[in-house]
């Protein structure tokens, strides 16, 4: 272990160290605390320019209620769910299939296909913006959920394939030989051997993909227009324009947008980090 572990027999030193780290953490998250503070204030305080004082009246709940009642955030939130959940599901299905084939079948061009998936997943969105937008317009999907779902599934399949391929390739070869020797077909091998063993990896991939898709902003503004379809990220930016001086409301809405990914992260922290590091590190 590096750095050298703090000595067990010096509790004071250990305590001080934790205190020091906590201090750094507070500085690190200061911007976020500022938002929380603002989200807890009343409109009056904001108007009076009292941004950094302790809230006279703790108004967080009311501000959240105002976000739901007076803005369309709840609608955006539902839109985000409608876009994100099917995308995650389809990405898992497709990438398990592609990853399995790329990990276990040695066909000509395997490396090339894999390189395309890996390389393509690094491309900035703007490179493919015009043709994708044009495609969605011409098939009549522009400004629908489906446009975003299709794009996200296509794009995330790149990273997810890299991820699944590396995980499946790490399984021992003899496991697959054993399955084959026992008469399992490719599909049976996938279903009875690969998928059960990939469960933790799939969980990790699911929350990663969820976060990526949920947090997307660019495609939300390129492929949608109407409030009926827009996800929260685009909604939040709109809201900021409309409620310029009501910082307490904007702050509450900002926290609201952050809630699902942050909650996901804390609930499945182990999977999230394993996914991020394994997916990346093994690549």
């Amino acid at each position: 272990m590096f750095p050298r572990p703090l000595p067990e027999e010096k509790p004071l030193q250990r305590g001080l160290y934790v205190g020091f780290v906590a201090l750094i953490l507070i500085l690190w998250l200061l911007p976020l605390f500022a938002v929380m503070l603002t989200a807890s204030k009343t409109a009056d305080e904001i108007m009076a320019g009292q941004y950094w004082t302790w809230p006279k009246h703790f108004n967080l709940i009311e501000n959240f209620q105002a976000v739901f009642a007076q803005t369309n955030m709840w609608g955006y939130f539902i839109n985000s769910l409608i876009i994100t959940l099917p995308s995650v599901l389809l990405v898992l299905v497709f990438s398990t299939l592609t990853g399995y084939v790329l990990a276990r079948y040695n066909f000509k061009g395997n490396a090339l296909v894999f390189a395309l998936f890996v390389g393509g997943n690094f491309l900035p969105a703007q490179i493919m913006m015009i043709p994708v937008r044009d495609l969605m317009v011409s098939v009549g999907l522009y400004d629908t959920y489906l446009a975003l779902i299709i794009f996200h599934v296509a794009f995330q399949t790149g990273f997810a394939t890299l991820f699944m391929r590396n995980f499946i390739a790490a399984l021992p070869d003899e496991l697959f030989q054993a399955a084959r020797a026992e008469g399992a077909s490719p599909w049976q091998t996938l279903r009875h051997v690969v998928i059960p063993l990939m469960r933790p990896a799939l969980a990790a991939l699911a929350i990663l993909t969820f976060t990526f898709v949920w947090n997307d902003y660019f495609w939300a503004i390129v492929l949608t227009q109407s409030d009926a379809v827009k996800p929260v990220t685009a909604g939040l930016n709109n809201l900021r324009g409309e409620w310029t001086s009501a910082w307490n409301i904007v702050a509450a809405a900002t926290l609201f947008v952050a809630v699902p990914p942050v909650t996901m992260f804390f609930l499945m922290q182990k999977h999230f980090i394993a996914g991020l590091t394994m997916g990346a590190v093994k690549g």
Binding site: Q177, A178, R180, G183, Q188
Partner: protein, 381 residues
């Protein structure tokens, strides 16, 4: 009746020629052990029989059927892998029943088969555990049980014991032999461990660089190796080789000169291609070397003890014979290995005389082919 036949099998990995025209016939109920140094193509041969590797040319027959183009699952084989290859997410019972489940057999039938196999291997009380809760030996049993459950025509084993510790390996060796007697099935077993080969096989097949060097009963191979490779591969401690020059060949006896020892007379069966002056190799097994004067000794030389290994019932001496240089001996120096069947009070530094009888000497032609078969000749003398 031939049960498994390999006819002119060739296998290429890209441009690498892994199997070169391999022919092998296995009878029903035989226990065949394929041995050879690592990388010689044993696993490739086994996987070709299983259908896990497609062969480049040749035919494979199992139980009277040409299975060359068939899927592994349809060939009537079961395979046990070195790493056991148990499915970590399944219980022992599920692991053992997996093959039958894939064949869509009714659950009741699977249960019966699993139970029967578990009883044979005495793992009935482990059936609900997962592989990672088992010890190495137990996992090995499950892997074998998984093979038994499918009641295959042929069992294939790829170094199944090499991940076990020495004590367990000895025990499993006995159990596998017992299992073979109990089931009477055809078994093909790959190992690089010659002790496993010698003790388990009804027939040994020695591989080297993708070709079969020799096959036969263990003792037959031990006593009558067809070439220098087989002589060198079987037997521990390893056989001693010395460079020898053919001086004279008369009446079926070769007279060979050794550096630093008197001329040796060796009876020869096959004199084809031998001319005076040919560079030959003389072989003598460590246990054939005796210390002191032996009546009618054909080879004898003076040596100094370098190292003594006392193994209790036997003693192994590493001796230095000066100019008489053994080729590629164990420690890499010019040493002979002498194995004595008793506890003998030798010490390093001691000077001794080492001898061997003519009947215990092997002679190999420049191309490695054996030119005499010492035991057979000994019998006919």
């Amino acid at each position: 009746m031939s049960h498994v036949r390999l006819i002119d099998i060739d296998k290429y990995y890209g441009s690498y020629h892994a199997l070169k025209s391999v022919n092998l016939t296995v009878d029903k109920g035989e226990f065949i052990v394929m041995v050879g140094p690592s990388g010689c193509g044993k696993s490739t041969t086994l996987k070709s029989i299983a259908g896990l590797e497609a062969i480049s040319s040749g035919e494979i027959w199992i139980n009277g059927r040409n299975v060359t183009r068939e899927e592994p699952g349809d060939r009537g084989i079961a395979m046990v892998f070195q790493s056991y290859a148990l499915y970590p997410h399944m219980t022992v019972a599920e692991n053992m029943g997996f093959g039958l489940k894939m064949a869509k057999r009714p659950q009741a039938e699977i249960d019966v088969a699993v139970k029967r196999a578990a009883e044979i291997l005495r793992i009935t009380d482990q059936l609900d555990k997962r592989p990672k809760e088992l010890s190495g030996g137990q996992r090995q049993r499950v892997a074998i049980g998984r093979a038994i459950t499918r009641s295959p025509e042929v069992f294939l084993f790829d170094e199944p014991l090499s991940n076990l510790d020495a004590a367990l390996r000895t025990q499993m060796r006995v159990e596998l032999t017992t299992l073979h007697q109990q089931l009477g099935s055809t078994m093909i077993y790959v190992t690089h461990d010659q002790v496993e080969a010698m003790t388990m096989a009804s027939r040994i097949v020695v591989f080297n660089k993708g070709v079969i060097e020799q096959q036969g009963a263990p003792l037959e191979l031990y006593h009558n190796p067809v070439n220098q490779f087989v002589a060198g591969f079987l037997g521990a401690p390893r056989i001693n080789f010395v460079a020898a020059t053919l001086v004279n060949l008369r009446d079926g006896v070769a007279e060979v000169a050794l550096e630093g020892a008197s001329t040796v007379h060796v009876p020869v069966a096959d004199t084809a291609g031998l001319t005076n002056g040919a560079k030959l190799t003389l072989g003598v097994r460590p246990e054939a070397l005796k210390i002191g004067d032996v009546p009618d000794a054909a080879l004898s030389f003076d040596a100094q003890v370098r190292l003594v290994e006392q193994l209790g019932r036997e003693t192994v001496l590493y001796v230095d014979a000066g100019p008489l240089a053994a080729i590629g001996s164990e420690s890499g120096t010019h040493n002979f290995t002498v194995q004595l069947g008793t506890a003998a009070p030798y010490a390093a530094g001691q000077s001794i005389k080492v001898s061997a009888r003519a009947a215990d000497l092997y002679l190999f032609a420049p191309d490695g082919k054996a030119v005499n078969r010492p035991k057979l000749i000994a019998a006919s003398l």
